[in-house]
């Protein structure tokens, strides 16, 4: 952690993560380690939350910056919880449906007759249905099982065939474990599902009240992610130094993969497109995942991202 040499006007910033600290968050740990936050006069505290998700906590003022994902933000906004996306940490949705090779699941058609291990949310059902519909496959032939918090590798040993994973973490772990997987990326099958995950968020009131603070935070964070993009290995070490509990191999491999995915094909790191917000909101609305549609242009903003040098 950075030394607290900056004396007078350091501002405390609390960041609430979406999950346990992992390679998605590297940029922030880099910014902390390299003194980027300090340079902006910020003292950043990173907290791992409960299962609750960051959105309502951020809206409730229990934290300044949160990490969320597009689906959560969309649901939150449709319920009148005023949170706004500030940057997409990863440009494309790297999640998909993974299954051990021996289950022979090559396309969504093959989901039929298999057991899916999920966390029981209607959104999962909608996504799987959308992908299967393309192949005229019947979602009713999928055995949907709620496995809650159980990790992927145990779930496939205990009766499930496929699950929805992030390649950047679980997929990488499978490579380390030498478990051969078939992987069907969501965005390949259904472009409207190429949503942003994870996303940095803040509440509307925070943005209105302290735009300067947000700007400073985003400037430093951007530097952090840019550094991570260029120096995957060193960044991984920085994350490991901050969170020594993490598995070294996994972090190194994951970071190598993710550093290429942070910015990907976008003009700058973090930039989001209206079409992605609109398409996914429409998808959710059409599938009754939200009761009323949102105004996509209000759900996010790129204005706190620093201009390209």
């Amino acid at each position: 952690q950075s030394s607290e040499s900056a004396t007078t006007d350091t501002t405390e910033v609390t960041v609430i993560l979406d999950w346990v600290p992992n390679t998605n968050h590297t940029g922030m740990y880099v910014a902390q380690d390299k003194g980027f936050y300090e340079a902006e006069g910020l003292n950043v505290k990173i907290i791992q939350p409960s299962e609750g998700g960051a959105s309502s906590l951020i809206a409730a003022g229990q934290g300044d910056i949160g990490i969320s994902y597009q689906e959560e933000i969309t649901i939150a906004r449709s319920k009148g919880i005023p949170v706004v996306g500030l940057a997409a940490i990863i440009q494309h949705n790297t999640s998909g449906f993974a299954s051990p090779k021996d289950r022979n699941i090559l396309t969504p058609k093959d989901f039929e007759g298999k057991t899916y291990g999920g966390w029981g949310s209607p959104a999962e059902t909608a996504v799987i249905k959308a992908m299967m519909d393309k192949y005229d496959a019947d979602i009713n032939k999928v055995n949907m099982l709620n496995i809650g918090d159980t990790d992927y590798f145990t779930s496939i040993k205990t009766g499930t065939d496929f699950a929805w994973i992030y390649w950047g973490w679980t997929g990488i772990e499978s490579e380390l474990k030498n478990i051969d997987l078939n992987f069907i990326p969501v965005r390949d099958e259904y472009p409207a599902l190429d949503f942003y995950t994870p996303v940095i968020i803040a509440s509307e009131s925070k943005i209105a009240a302290e735009p300067l603070l947000i700007e400073k935070f985003m400037r430093a964070t951007t530097r952090g992610y840019e550094y991570a993009i260029q120096n995957p290995e060193e960044s991984a070490e920085i994350l490991l130094k901050a969170i020594p509990e993490l598995d070294r191999e996994l972090v190194l491999a994951s970071q190598a993969y993710l550093s290429k995915e942070y910015q990907s094909d976008a003009p700058r790191w973090g930039e989001m497109k209206l079409s992605v917000w609109k398409d996914y909101a429409d998808f959710m609305f059409n599938n009754s995942l939200i009761e009323k549609n949102i105004e996509p242009e209000k759900a996010y903003t790129n204005k706190f991202l620093p201009e390209q040098e």
Partner: protein, 256 residues
């Protein structure tokens, strides 16, 4: 007179509850707290009514699990209590481990159990039994130790078998303690069932709460909490009723 006092007692607790709810309601509207942070009691009630069919559906599952788990815990507690009481070797070897088992955080188990026992009803029942078994068996064992050794001597002098002595002397003596343990377990049974549903359930109040929570419906989450409290209360009352029915000789001591 006694009846009156009892009624006064009950209504006094209800009064406090009412007062708290009123303060809550007024506080929420006074400070303009948004519903996604803390809904007012009336909003929770609205939510309950709106979702009442769903809630009945999920509640029935949870209740079934709780009753099944509690019943199993009772049976196990009786059997293991009997064994531990009669085999002192077993007692010293197993009892400390039973105590140890209570220190394992349930949520960790909730995550690990499916690993070993799959996704069926088994891991759920294990969690409920683990929660409910302990208070019953401890109280039961304590109750069995309350037996007057002279009473045992009397039965020995009359040439009674060990089993006859257990049935006629020890079991009835241990019943009140057994029931006070069962009462505690009944209080926790619903909560345990809900926790067991945190992982790997397709229905039940725990599942319902997770879902509602993920969609920011705190009113529904708190609604489910209300249902849990009420169910727990009913479970306790059922135990009290059983207590009353099974111990006719003890009846006028039931008044609390």
């Amino acid at each position: 007179m006694k009846k009156f006092i009892n009624t006064a007692k009950k209504s006094s607790a209800l009064f406090t509850l009412g007062l708290l709810l009123l303060l809550w309601e007024k506080g929420v509207s006074w400070y303009e707290i948004p519903a996604y942070i803390l809904p007012a009691p009336t909003q929770i009630l609205d939510g309950l009514l709106k979702h009442h069919q769903l809630l009945i559906y999920h509640t029935s599952t949870t209740l079934l699990e709780a009753v099944a788990g509690l019943s199993l815990a009772v049976i196990l507690a009786l059997i293991i209590g009997f064994l531990l009481h009669n085999l002192r070797v077993l007692y010293t070897a197993v009892y400390p481990l039973l105590v140890f088992s209570q220190t394992i955080p349930l949520i960790v188990l909730a995550v690990l159990l499916p690993l070993w026992f799959g996704w069926g009803v088994l891991p759920k029942i294990i969690i409920i039994v683990l929660v409910c078994f302990f208070p019953i068996v401890i109280s039961f064992l304590n109750g069995l130790d309350l037996v007057d050794p002279d009473q045992i001597n009397l039965f020995r002098s009359m040439g009674a078998t060990k089993w006859a002595t257990f049935k006629m002397v020890k079991l009835p003596t241990a019943l009140p303690a057994f029931f006070s343990g069962l009462r505690i377990s009944a209080t926790y049974s619903i909560m345990a069932a809900v926790i067991s549903e945190w992982v790997g359930a397709q229905r039940g109040l725990g599942y319902y709460m997770t879902l509602q929570q993920k969609s920011f419906a705190i009113d529904q989450v708190l609604g489910a909490v209300v249902v849990i409290c009420v169910l727990s209360f009913i479970m306790v009352k059922i135990v009290d009723l059983l207590n009353f029915l099974l111990m006719p000789w003890n009846r006028n001591q039931l008044v609390r």
